[in-house]
């Protein structure tokens, strides 16, 4: 795969140097501009999964910055280019804070709204922007008194910037940052529970994508030498989006391949006069239907990449732990609408002890876990981890403080390998992906599933998925481990194995809280049991006392007649 891409690059350079006419070079230059813009879009949309329809607006803001400063104030490239990079980033940071909180469709629409407002401003402030006519006389790429001629030099300069930007994006995408973004794209809640600051990562991706778009916009006006509202209009956005998807979502090589194809495609059909766009639409439809993972996906299917050799397992250092209370919870409360889901719950989790949390459906067990792990904010109460106040803290802060959890419906990314999924838990700690995977492998080995490390999570049977999820939580090296129905759907043999693992984990000094319905599994395992009903603690004591406690029995079976 990589060799194919390399030979493709060589062929492209040979074409540019030897065969291309000035026209061919211009089309190639435009393709470079779009490749750069689409590379940035891969970061925010491909990796972070946010359908930002403001990307075209960032492109346009970069274009207008260079256009206005270059044509009106006579600034040259070394001065205008940094402004074209900085302004879109500033805009992204400004609008990103409120807008990035929105869920998918709302985010898309909000960014579309921003793009429309920017377009309206450009059209209706003629004194600054030249209005709908735009501004002519934008200089070429000039520095130190010399202007880069169009044709080969301009194409080379644009593609050099594409190469530079592409390399940077490729390294970022393959590194911890890229992995973290894919994780929060697939499951933002899990990402937060693994200690990743979702808001900050999204904002970083959004701002960085704006940087690329601004650079591309600047190069676009240096190429066409005028700036007009067309750079802000929706077709630019649509081109970038289609390039990213047709090329291969999330892939830098996809951005480049997609741009080369989609910018050249209409040129090949020009002889059809006005009907060429019909064919273009048809080709686009065919591409999306026939190549679901884009051109890069197609290439990978034809030339599957060689599997990387597995890393050598690297055991996690055992943390020094003291006996005694780890997590103190006092007066925890949470209401949804008028319903008090959790109503003044207090308890303490001890190091090396397994605590069971039971109660009928709707008694507030999962809400307690959500409150402790920061997925919900408590209305009242205090949570204290080893003397550190975590009341109302964000999920990622809580995770970093040492609380790990699993989810009731196993939340593993379907397309990731087991190793990648578990390594995701180490992204926030380890210096490199290699170290993270080495650590992950040792945790998998400890739970006896190292041989499954290369399989995709989506193909695993339910029992193994639970095990992998436990490994992911364990890889956090937590002081407190919260498990939400870990035995659901397991066979008796698997349950017995799970009990063994949980005991071993607790023996290492971890405080474990297990929410479970299955009393046959829980009562022999737990050192202590808490029973909840209607958000209140009904019972707190030894497991042996549970079946004989009248209040618990009544809560489960209903009031005696």
């Amino acid at each position: 795969m990589r060799s194919v891409l390399a030979s493709g690059a060589v062929a492209l350079i040979a074409y540019a140097l030897l065969y291309a006419s000035p026209y061919g070079l211009r089309v190639l230059t435009v393709a470079g501009v779009y490749a750069l813009a689409a590379t940035g879009f891969q970061l925010v949309f491909g990796l972070a999964g946010a359908l930002s329809l403001a990307h075209g607006a960032f492109f346009g803001v970069g274009a207008y910055a260079t256009g206005i400063l270059g044509s009106q104030l006579g600034w040259s490239f070394p001065a205008t280019f940094p402004v074209s990079l900085a302004l879109p980033v500033l805009l992204a940071l400004l609008v990103g804070l409120p807008v990035l909180r929105l869920e998918s469709h709302y985010f898309a629409l909000a960014t579309l709204g921003i793009a429309q407002v920017v377009l309206l401003l450009a059209v209706n402030t003629p004194d600054l922007t030249g209005g709908a006519n735009g501004l002519a006389g934008v200089p070429g790429i000039a520095a130190f008194g010399a202007t880069l001629p169009r044709g080969l030099p301009l194409a080379a300069a644009v593609w050099a910037i594409v190469a530079l930007g592409g390399l940077l994006a490729w390294r970022l995408a393959r590194g911890r940052w890229g992995r973290a973004l894919t994780l929060l794209r697939d499951d933002p809640l899990a990402a937060a529970a693994l200690g990743l600051d979702v808001g900050r990562l999204r904002l970083q991706a959004f701002a960085l994508s704006a940087l690329y778009a601004g650079a591309a916009g600047a190069l676009a006006v240096h190429t066409q030498r005028v700036v007009s509202p067309e750079v802000l209009e929706f077709p630019v956005m649509v081109s970038i989006l289609t390039i990213a998807v047709v090329g291969g979502r999330g892939r830098v090589a996809g951005a480049v391949l997609g741009a080369l194809l989609l910018i050249h495609l209409p040129e090949w059909f020009r002889f059809l006069e006005r009907s060429y766009l019909i064919l273009y639409g048809g080709a686009l439809l065919a591409a999306i239907v026939l190549a679901p993972h884009g051109l890069t996906g197609l290439l990978e299917r034809l030339l599957p990449p060689k599997p990387r050799p597995p890393p050598a397992p690297l055991p996690l250092p055992a943390p020094a732990v003291a006996d005694g209370p780890v997590l103190r919870v006092e007066g925890l409360a949470k209401a949804f609408g008028g319903v008090r889901a959790v109503d003044g719950v207090s308890f303490t989790l001890q190091s090396s002890r397994i605590t069971g949390l039971i109660g009928p459906n709707g008694s507030g067990k999962t809400t307690v876990i959500n409150l402790l792990s920061g997925l919900e904010r408590p209305d009242a109460g205090r949570v204290d981890l080893l003397g550190r106040d975590l009341s109302g803290a964000r999920a990622d802060r809580i995770a970093r403080a040492g609380i790990a959890r699993t989810f009731q419906s196993a939340g593993l990314p379907e397309d990731s390998t087991v190793l990648e999924a578990v390594a995701a838990a180490r992204l926030e700690r380890d210096a490199s992906i290699a170290t993270a995977e080495a650590h992950a492998l040792s945790v998998l080995a400890r739970l006896g599933v190292a041989d499954r490390a290369r399989e995709r999570c989506g193909t695993l049977p339910a029992g193994l998925r639970r095990r992998v999820e436990l490994a992911r939580a364990l890889a956090r090296q937590p002081r407190v481990l919260l498990l939400d129905e870990p035995a659901a759907g397991l066979t008796d043999a698997e349950k017995a194995e799970l009990s063994g693992h949980l005991r071993a984990i607790a023996a290492d000094g971890v405080a474990v809280l297990v929410v479970e319905h299955d009393m046959g599994f829980l009562l022999p395992l737990a050192d202590r049991v808490l029973a909840l009903d209607q958000g209140r603690v009904l019972y707190d004591g030894a497991p042996a006392g549970v079946p004989h406690d009248p209040a618990v029995v009544e809560a489960y079976l209903g009031a005696p007649a």
């Binding site: 929105l102 709302y106 629409l109 709204g113 407002v117 998807v245 006005r274 999306i288 679901p292």
Partner: protein
């Protein structure tokens, strides 16, 4: 008096927008995907009406009324074709695939219309007849009243079918939860195709109605899809009555703000208001907050 006149015009425009938004939200619910060709389908409905009108006029004095059922049926067929080409092969893929495939359909429709009919604006025949009637001091075009009546009729019919008939209940169940509907033995794929047909037929009706008063050009769809998108967001993503109310609000807003300030300001204010709504009340004006899963 002016205010009353403007409100009436705004309502008629809003009724047409409501038909557009209704088709959009029905498909959105059933297929779980944004149909970005929806605006271009409205345009196609208008063009279809323009193209068919001369053939009808020869034997029928009020071509608009005869065109309405014809456009509904033909557009439903087009909706089936679109779903077969651009939706069915992409089921189970990320939602953005359908977003892109319908963008491609939009490009084909827009440029197909341009190649077939040229770029000039065209007018479809009025539903009943042209001209105006005086309602007291108000001057109302007959077409505005016809738009209001047809929109009320079609929206009412949709509500009735969904509430009262077997097929309607199946359509609704599919829209609410396709997985659950499948488990209950409902032929989900057929229901989704039917929804595409219904949504596109409504788009066609809107196209026919709009193309008389406001003309139709091959590029007319781009603006309408944005309006539908915004209406659905304001109304609460996926809420059918919300989409209708959202569309009415947009039209009243448009007419109202442009009467006091200006069109560019109205447009800017619409987007600014949208942003404020999104940030302050992301569940829409009428919608329920989507529960987060944990």
């Amino acid at each position: 008096m002016t205010i009353l006149q403007l409100t009436l015009n705004g309502l008629a425009l809003g009724a047409a927008y409501a038909l557009v938004a209704l088709g959009f939200v029905l498909v959105l619910n059933a297929a779980g995907a944004v149909n970005f060709a929806h605006g271009d389908l409205v345009m196609a409905g208008g063009m279809l009406a323009v193209a068919l009108a001369p053939h009808i006029t020869s034997f029928w004095p009020a071509p608009g009324l005869a065109l309405l059922p014809l456009v509904l049926v033909l557009m439903a067929a087009l909706g089936l074709a679109v779903s077969w080409l651009a939706y069915l092969p992409l089921r189970g893929r990320p939602h953005v695939s359908v977003f892109i495939s319908t963008i491609a359909v939009g490009i084909i429709l827009q440029n197909g219309a341009n190649a077939l009919f040229g770029g000039e604006p065209r007018a479809a025949p009025p539903l009943l007849w042209g001209g105006t009637v005086a309602l007291g001091p108000l001057v109302v075009s007959v077409q505005s009243l016809a738009i209001l009546a047809v929109a009320a009729l079609l929206i009412g019919a949709q509500q009735w079918v969904f509430a009262r008939t077997q097929i309607g209940r199946r359509l609704r169940a599919t829209a609410q939860d396709p997985e659950m509907a499948r488990a209950c033995g409902i032929p989900v794929t057929a229901m989704i195709l039917a929804t595409f047909a219904l949504g596109t037929a409504y788009a066609g009706a809107a196209g026919l109605l709009l193309a008389n008063q406001f003309f139709v050009t091959p590029t007319a769809g781009g603006d309408l899809i944005l309006k539908a998108y915004i209406a659905v967001t304001i109304g609460g993503w996926g809420s059918v009555p919300g989409a209708v109310v959202g569309a009415l609000l947009i039209a009243l807003f448009e007419v109202g703000v442009s009467a006091v300030l200006s069109y560019p300001v109205a447009l800017g204010a619409l987007y600014a208001t949208l942003l404020v709504i999104l940030v302050a009340r992301p569940q829409g004006l009428f919608g329920e907050a989507a529960r987060r899963r944990a």
